[in-house]
């Protein structure tokens, strides 16, 4: 049994189609990240699995249960972090954690969670006085207090500073290592690359790609380089005998697996023209590039 299962999930808001038939699953002990541009349907997907929205069509299961009809049996076993808010403005982290702990049969200790997420110093301040990052970390602590088997995290690191991010990442990884199934959304692609086993990229309510972060694009190996001035892409392509793409004014990509002779030819060609290299990398497309390419392509396909 998967921790989370969505099969051909459709969600319509009146006339508007938010999700147009998406399928994915999350196993126990696995982190899956849902990526997509704003308005792609990420939050709708997560909130349907949490039981806040009723699917227009399709099937969702969390720990084998229906999020709406089995709500009472399911909620003690899930932890939820909404995209924003969810805490009494006047209540301090210590008090709200103790309150939430009282809802569960075998809660984690509030003091331990405060410590884990670096909130001990502000444990007595009202929620509205906390910084954005501190508020986010408290929301994560509240999601963890009931020892969930499944975690839903909607943009868990939005507004969190780099040190806080590290703490959040460590806490999420630790949950995964204890067998919790984690479904998260994020705009931080390098973070997802480090954290998630699999990503599901959705755009306009459909899955446009899914897989491990390193393989999701199915891209070829490439040689990417940056130089100190603009070069003639067509001339270089002719000289090397492979395709060369300009990603930016001084960023280029040779669409070919790296080899010693390719790199030698490239540097020799640059040297003849007095152009200096400022960066040289070999490898597959990064998640961010895959993401931008897929989302752009989807936009063009729809616009035609």
């Amino acid at each position: 049994m998967s921790a989370i299962d969505a099969e051909d999930l459709h969600v319509h808001y009146g006339e508007r189609v938010a999700l147009d038939g998406i399928s994915f699953s999350v196993d126990a002990g696995e982190i899956v990240a849902v990526l997509g541009p704003n308005g792609a349907g990420k939050t709708t997907a997560v909130e349907t699995l949490e039981g806040y929205r009723r699917p227009t069509a399709g099937r969702v299961r969390v720990l084998g249960l229906d999020p709406i009809s089995d709500h009472t049996r399911l909620v003690p076993r899930i932890g939820v972090m909404l995209q924003r808010g969810g805490v009494y403005a006047v209540m301090s982290p210590r008090r709200v954690l103790a309150l939430f702990a009282s809802y569960y049969d075998d809660p984690r200790s509030p003091a331990e969670l405060l410590d884990l997420l670096g909130l001990t110093g502000v444990a007595g301040s009202p929620f509205r006085r906390l910084s954005g990052g501190e508020q986010q970390r408290l929301l994560l602590a509240l999601a963890l207090v009931g020892r969930p088997r499944v975690l839903f995290l909607d943009e868990p690191t939005a507004g969190v500073d780099p040190a806080g991010r590290l703490a959040v990442r460590d806490v999420i990884s630790a949950c995964r290592n204890e067998g919790v199934g984690v479904l998260m959304t994020s705009h931080e692609l390098d973070e997802v690359e480090r954290l998630a086993e699999r990503v599901v990229i959705i755009d306009r309510g459909r899955v446009v790609a899914a897989g491990a972060p390193g393989e999701v694009g199915g891209g070829e190996e490439e040689v990417r380089f940056a130089v100190d001035r603009e070069i003639d892409v067509l001339e270089l392509a002719a000289a090397l005998g492979v395709e060369v793409v300009a990603d930016g004014p001084r960023d280029y990509r040779v669409v070919s697996p790296s080899s010693p002779s390719l790199v030698a030819h490239l540097t020799a060609w640059l040297a003849e023209r007095g152009v200096s290299l400022t960066d040289l990398r070999v490898g597959r497309e990064r998640l961010e590039e895959v993401f931008l390419r897929l989302v752009r392509a989807e936009g063009e396909r729809r616009d035609r």
Binding site: Y52, V75, V80, G85, G86, Y88, A98, L99, F100, Y103
Partner: protein, 239 residues
């Protein structure tokens, strides 16, 4: 049970810690009670002004907690996503609602103790058989709470805040709290259809002479106590 107890404790504590709420639930009622008992400017029609004012101020206390305090707090909890977030905890909506009802009743008991003590100190002597007054206050609590939740569950938090305070002021003036309904001329007929006037109409005879309140105030109270919570249940949006 542990969750319910913790939730009631949190609700009561937040109510008592909000300064602006205390002003409306205890400060203004106590001030009106003391000021108009000592300064005889109101046409109360009783030998001692406090005999008229005490039941009215107790009605105001019920209204301030069940309607103003509950409504404003719930409106902001809704806009901050607190109600939404609690929806995916084992607390659940029925227990959250029950906790709010219990905490309103607990705060009302505190108000009765404080305002009752002040009134007794000012020379008020209520009739000892006041069971019907308690029943009327309970019905009014459901009427006011239903009205509060119907507004809090549909309006933006800021509009709900302004409206709840506005209704408080209007019902203070036409609810038989400081001005006797008999002196309201044209307003009286309209005012008697509202739960505030129905409550003061019930409390005056029940607390003053220990006699049963008029039938029409029971009818108005029961109607509001049934209809307002039903409207709230049907229209409330949790997010």
């Amino acid at each position: 049970m542990r969750a319910l107890r913790a939730q009631v404790g949190a609700e009561v504590r937040m109510t008592l810690e909000r300064g602006e709420t205390l002003l409306v639930t205890v400060g203004i009622p106590a001030f009106l009670l003391i000021f108009f008992s000592l300064v005889h400017v109101l046409p109360t029609g009783t030998r001692h002004p406090v005999d008229f004012l005490a039941p009215g101020v107790l009605a105001l206390a019920v209204m301030s907690t069940a309607m103003v305090s509950l409504g404003i707090a719930t409106g902001f909890e809704r806009s901050y996503g607190v109600l939404k977030r609690l929806g995916t905890t084992p607390l659940g909506r029925p227990r959250l609602l029950l906790a709010k009802v219990i905490s309103v009743l607990l705060v009302e008991i505190l108000q009765v103790v404080v305002l009752g003590a002040i009134a007794l100190g000012l020379g008020w002597r209520p009739h000892p058989a006041a069971g019907l007054a308690v029943l009327a206050a309970l019905l009014a609590t459901f009427a006011f709470a239903g009205t509060a939740l119907a507004m809090a569950g549909t309006l933006r938090a800021e509009i709900n805040l302004a409206l709840a305070n506005g209704v408080y002021l209007v019902l203070l003036l036409i609810g038989g709290v400081v001005f006797p309904l008999g002196k309201l001329s044209g307003f009286a007929a309209f005012a008697r259809l509202l739960p505030a006037a129905a409550l003061t109409d019930a409390l005056h005879p029940a607390l003053g002479q220990g006699i049963a309140p008029p039938l029409e105030s029971w009818v108005v109270l029961v109607a509001w106590a049934v209809v307002a919570p039903a409207v709230a249940a049907l229209t409330f949006r949790w997010e």
